[in-house]
Symmetry: C2
Subunit: 266 residues, 2 copies
């Protein structure tokens, strides 16, 4: 199996090209691939498969088959799709500029040059109410936001750098019966926040694209706004989130690090 | 740059073939390569370079240029040399059986088949006295053992699975002016121990070959013995250490996981 390793603000992925749709990714196989000591190591896997083989209804050439590091299927991944778009352009499978990528959450529009930041239209965040999470024995209240996957974004004065996110935060199972991605954020200046995230199925990660958008929505509401541009500082770098009346955009770096064969070709 | 990723009991390495001795590994470059999110990710790097280019005095064909994940040079690595030997045989650079590998701690003899465990003669452990380490505010007393690199191996009744090894253990700077690798071990049956390790320059790892030997030496002394065969259970698997009057042997699995190019060839 060929692979490319890449990351967006240190949210890292193993990209697996599959032009014939012939690769059967099992949960155990994905978990082994993502194991950081015994495998290649990643937050998730991005299988690159023709959209017509996965969902012919979607008007796009390529489908992003995203799996979390535990092997589970996930709807969407904001940093993953930016790295996926970089891969398509770098390998000549798509031309720089704007194009669509099919996902389990529908077609997503991306925009990029040959280098520089990659932007993805994340769609309109759905604010579904409020809920809570428990981290280190303390309860945090926040906003229940859906970006195709469920988020809880909590504005807090507790410095997020001091939190212990090694364990799964507690959450309201009635609101989130299938689990939730939890963001904790501090206001860090004018239209700027610092965020940490615990991803459902992956644990704490260095960044989370959909989480950054949910974070910007919560920060904007905290500021009495609904639109605007927010800098979201995450452990792995900085993302920019643009909120308008219709949709949201996520921008940031997307880097391809290595390529190769798994298992090895010697 | 070509690479192979491999591991021995989940102590993982990026192997970098360098038949011309032309690759200049800088500390920053090694740290970037070993970064688990922005790089390939590993506990260390093994550059495969002809011994005649590094140290013509050593009677071996290949030299293992080992670097820790922080970029620092290290003398030896017991799991690293087993993975290094697997790589040499798998790529046809050495024949299965017994041969020598040059290192900064001299020539080490290895023994392996085409598959199965890889054994390395680790030399005679030097017991230099006793010392202590502090983990989680508690002081542990143990044996000061050198395997070319410095170790402190502490037999304890505190279950090692419950220890927090995320921080550098405190140690006696007079005994270990250049730092120390710290092992904590529980007796786990007849000639069997369970061990965790904090490696100087790498943090907690899933396994450490020289640490397993130091651990067997401390466990043997604890049992009133100086020779014998010990099973050393580490978080990443099980190693076997054989102590005799003359030397010590470390045996265990060594697996090659992937191969490729860094940066990517697309």
């Amino acid at each position: 199996m060929r692979f490319v390793k890449g990351h967006g603000t240190e949210n890292d992925f193993v990209i697996v090209p599959d032009p014939d749709g012939s690769i059967d990714l099992t949960p155990g196989g994905v978990a082994a691939l993502c194991d950081r000591r015994a495998g290649l190591g990643a937050d998730g896997v991005l299988r690159v498969v023709p959209a017509k083989l996965m969902d012919p209804e979607q008007d796009a050439e390529w489908f992003m088959d995203y799996r979390n590091s535990d092997g589970g299927v996930a709807e969407m991944c904001g940093n993953g799709i930016r790295v996926f778009a970089r891969y398509l352009v770098a390998t000549g499978l798509a031309e720089a500029g704007e194009f669509g990528i099919a996902t389990r959450a529908g077609v997503k529009r991306v925009h990029l040059g040959d280098a520089g930041d990659v932007t993805v239209d994340m769609g309109r965040p759905a604010v579904l109410g409020e809920s809570w999470a428990e981290v280190g024995g303390r309860r945090y209240h926040g906003l229940n936001v859906s970006l195709g996957n469920p988020h809880l974004a909590c504005v807090t004065d507790v410095p997020v750098g001091e939190l212990d996110l090694t364990r799964q935060p507690g959450h309201d199972h009635a609101t989130y019966p299938e689990g939730v991605n939890v963001e904790l954020l501090n206001i860090a200046g004018d239209h700027a926040v610092t965020m940490r995230v615990h991803e459902r199925g992956s644990g704490e990660t260095r960044s989370c694209g959909t989480g950054a958008v949910a974070t910007a929505v919560a920060a904007a509401r905290n500021a009495g706004e609904t639109t605007g541009v927010w800098a979201v500082h995450v452990p792995g770098g900085t993302l920019t989130v643009t909120l308008d009346e219709e949709t949201s955009y996520l921008s940031g770096p997307a880097v391809l690090v290595a390529s190769g064969d798994y298992p090895p070709v010697l």
